[in-house]
């Protein structure tokens, strides 16, 4: 109904306008002299002048109005080392283009006004002027030269990769060290990976990807993979160089953190990188925003807090990747060295203790998967096998520890132990365990529940490695 009324209004309005148009046409034929034409010229050219003035003033006014939001002007000055370079280039270009913009727009509409056709006016025959044309060819060329040189210097500085001898570590302490993390875009979330205590990301093989248990296809025979963990946000220490390895699993994505002026496509099968150094912690950014009236309002999601209190740097996707493109958000926290190390420790995969590993394996596999659309394996055969194998290993560890002092038993136990290590199904693992159980029967274990992981905390009998984790078939 509203649709019809709207359409009717438009039609009526159009008819009205057509009538006006016709009336003007008739009027001009009645007068049939040039005065009508001159009047139109003056009116239109005058309107052009008014438009130009309002337009140019509007440009200035709107810029001032939006200044608090424009990067590099309000509180959003760049929070990374290279960011201010980008901002400065932007602003230099803004200055140059603004001058050209104002001069040319003014000239266009002013000359149109000045040279409007009037009674007795006549155009001049001015077909070309080589000197003038040289001027407006050379001046832009010179300006462009400066922009190109400035731009390329900055670009090559920002984009150059780290030299080969640069070491990736947990917390850099010298010029030659950096933090290496990884972000993998997938529909529609970022899978983040930290290298753990060894500072090294393990290798990956996309054929080993398993939606539930190995979302990145980490190759478990690479020891660097063992302590890698998948947090749900990026946490980085302030002032330390970071190299993000950017990859994609399905389609193109783009790793974009606005406040750091960081942006790079994620391409399947072709890892890219971006190197940056965060310079402003989340806390000091919040304090900076606190000064701003537009941030002293209640937060939309948490009315008990003001907006500045909930501010966080955000990782977004900036390359169309499908229907959920707009929702690939991860929080980025910039903290002090101590907070960063504490956070690493708290990530269960980050600790090297066996206890941490058992729990950490679960965490790193399921932190980002459980409850999401990718959670297809929650109750799958693989999962049951995986848990069965883990349980058998824990039980076997307890048994072996109890019998550890008996050399002959330890020799006998090697065969089933190997079988346990290679077991790929829960049944196989259980069989291997019962063999171990039979051999070590004479030794009673400490009376603890089977799954009590403290009992295995110090054992090295069975490497609770992740090669036993379900592999894709």
């Amino acid at each position: 109904m509203g649709f019809l009324v709207g359409a009717l209004c438009i039609i009526l309005f159009s008819v009205f306008l057509v009538q006006i148009g016709k009336a003007r046409e008739l009027a001009s034929t009645v007068y049939n002299d040039k005065s009508e034409e001159y009047a139109i010229n003056t009116f239109q050219a005058g309107f052009g002048m008014v438009f130009m003035i309002v337009f140019l003033l509007g440009c200035i006014a709107s810029f001032v109005y939006y200044m608090p939001y424009i990067l590099g002007w309000g509180p959003y000055t760049a929070a990374s080392e290279h960011g201010p370079v980008v901002d400065r280039l932007f602003n230099v270009t803004l200055l140059i283009t603004a001058i050209v913009f104002f001069i040319t727009q003014f000239a266009l509409f002013y000359f149109a006004w000045k040279y409007r056709g009037r009674k007795g006016s006549k155009g001049i025959y001015w077909a070309h002027n080589e000197k003038l044309e040289m001027v407006w060819m050379i001046v832009p060329s010179v300006v462009m030269t400066f922009l190109v040189i400035g731009g390329l210097q900055a670009w090559n500085q920002i984009m150059i990769d780290l030299p080969d001898d640069h070491k990736s570590v947990v917390l850099p302490s010298s010029e030659n060290e950096h933090i290496e993390i990884e972000a993998t875009g997938t529909q529609f979330l970022w899978i983040l990976r930290y290298p753990g205590r060894d500072g090294k990301l393990g290798i990956r093989d996309f054929t080993k990807i398993d939606g539930g248990t190995n979302p990145l296809g980490q190759v478990w025979s690479d020891p660097n993979n063992i302590d890698d963990f998948h947090p749900d946000k990026i946490v980085l220490p302030v002032g330390k160089k970071v190299r993000v390895r950017i990859t994609a699993r399905d389609v193109l994505h783009n790793f974009y953190i606005r406040d750091f002026r960081v942006k790079m496509d994620a391409v399947p099968g072709m890892p890219t990188y971006f190197i940056f150094t965060p310079t402003v912690t989340t806390d000091s950014m919040r304090r900076r925003l606190k000064e701003r009236p537009e941030w002293q309002v209640a937060d939309k999601n948490d009315p008990n807090k003001q907006r500045w209190e909930t501010f966080d740097y955000e990782l977004a996707c900036a390359e169309l990747c499908g229907r959920g493109h707009y929702s690939m958000r991860r929080i980025v926290k910039i903290v002090s060295d101590e907070e960063y190390l504490a956070w690493i420790d708290a990530q269960e995969g980050g600790s090297l203790s066996a206890e941490g590993q058992v729990e950490g394996v679960k965490t790193q596999y399921f932190a980002n998967i459980k409850g999401t659309a990718a959670d297809v394996l929650a109750s799958s055969e693989e999962m049951k096998n995986y848990e069965g194998i883990m349980a058998a290993k824990v039980k076997a560890n307890a048994k072996i520890e109890a019998a550890a002092k008996d050399v002959s038993i330890m020799a006998q136990v090697q065969v089933p132990l190997k079988a346990l290590r290679l077991a790929t199904t829960a049944a196989d693992a259980e069989k291997a365990f019962s063999e171990i159980d039979r051999i070590t029967a004479g030794y009673s274990t400490v009376e603890t529940p089977v799954m009590d992981t403290t009992a295995v905390a110090d054992t090295t009998a069975v490497e609770i490695d992740t090669t036993a984790a379900p592999t894709p078939h």
């Binding site: 010229n41 050219a45 283009t97 006549k122 399905d250 707009y326």
Partner: protein
Amino acid sequence: MADISVTDQDLHHGEDHGDHGHDDHHGDKYQSSFIDRYLFSMDHKTIAKQFLMTGMFWAVIGAGMSIIFRLQLGFPDADLSWLQPLLGGWIDINPSTGVGSLNPDFYYALVTMHGTIIVFFVLTAGLSGTFSNLLIPLQIGARDMASPMLNMFSYWFFFLSGVVMFASLFLNTGPFSGGWTAYPPLSELPQASDGSKAGMTLWLLSLVLFVVSVLLGGINYITTILNMRTKGMSMFRMPLTIWAFLVTAIIGLLSFPVIASGFFMVLFDRALGTSFFLNEIYVAGEALTERVGGSAILFQHLFWFLGHPEVYIIILPAMGIVSEVLSVHSRKPIFGYKAMVFSILAIAVLSFLVWAHHMFMTGMNPFVANIFVLFTLIIAVPSAVKVFNWIATIWGGNLRFNTPLLFAIGFVSLFISGGLTGLFLGNAAIDIQQHDTYFVVAHFHVVMGVAAFFGMFAGVYHWFPRMFGRFMNETLGKIHFWGTLIGAYAIFGPMHYLGMAGVPRRYYSFDTFSAFADFDMMNKFMTIAAIVVFLIQILFLINFFYSIYKGKKQTTMNPWEATTLEWTAPINAGHGNWPGAIPHVHRWPYDLSRYEDRDFVPQTEPLAEGEIDGGH
């Protein structure tokens, strides 16, 4: 009226079209039935009208789509269930509240279709197709194109391409939704997006047909311009429109086949199991172990090797039209004719050397960017020359504020505004921040979207009498102009600030990120402005169709007092354009305000004793 002193013996170029050389062209024996005359016509003037009207049809569809997705952006919480009769299942109705909202898949389909339709169907076919067809034979003095038959095929391939694209709108899985750039792997993996199912197949098919249309047209334009100019029409006596059409056609001929090859590779990847653009992909719970070794970046190189020249394919005809219109309505020769020609040529050459500036942040080796930054910013020089020359054309003129002139001035204003923002994006270091933000959206909409539309409008208002023997209504034209100019700046001006704040483009909703959620008011404002501008274009359509039948009649052959040849043909000329012999040319096309006693001297008037041809 100038004396057209030619005889049949002087005819050079009409000869091989003997059947057109008769005195009576209105009842051409090949064009006698209704179908031959209006449907499968070989008359370039009719084909031009077909291109124009088809372009207008697509413009309404393409712009209408933008209104729907602007509604989502400006009023994300509004109830859109009233659109359900039109969009059906694409409106998701919340079962508990009954509130209808746009399906995200369809949002992306709309964005994709909007881009594809406007870029290819409206601004390539509708603009270059219309005016190349209409003006090339008329302005160079030819009876028709070199091959009227190919010309007809060119239109019908375009039509067919449109039919296929239109059909894709009605697919169950929706039209293609991966952006008009169709980057793989998204465009190749049906598992990754509904739009990449049948929608993408039709999209590819449609655009391959479109490439055929462009090539058939382009070969014709080039051949006609090079071979069929009338006596005396040397290259440097051609109006700038013709130069623009010639160079446009050459660019199209060199670049469209490249994208066609890219499209075929995508088709092979989709249908035959090749892996040109696929590598190490895990999608929908499955690792595509057989599909390795390709490169997604390779497609982008192929795409932008067309994609960038494409923006010049769009803007050059508009520049040509504007040069012509500015000159005629300012009563002044175009300033620096040769500089204008050489800047068109320079832009054409450079347009092939800048494609990767669309790819600075795509993982391409960053050091390749150096060369592309250099060439991209060099392109600003010929562009600046053109702008200054247009302003110098107005300077010292005697401006007649007819609607075509207004649109030409509007074009220059928009081209300045949009061109200057290109200096940011062409500089790789700034592009780190600006790439794929609304700054890009604002930039290209102003410089090649709206500006090209303004060139098109200037052309339509200016050559409407040439097409239909009547004028469009001036008052409505002026309302149309001011409404569109103010409205276009109201839509795209604020968008720059959105980009400067780092808001990424192609976002269905800004609520997920606190960084991008500050601009509700601005988004509302832009949406309202877009709706107003859309309604004003309906005014143009009314004016257009009303004027075809009821517009003020053209009474003189040369109503704008222009110098060029198209105004020497009779009103409503039939197939063959000139009933008698083809006029000869004796001077350049810009002898305006040259002599005290005469406002203009047509190209057909022989040089007087001792008179030097202008432009030298």
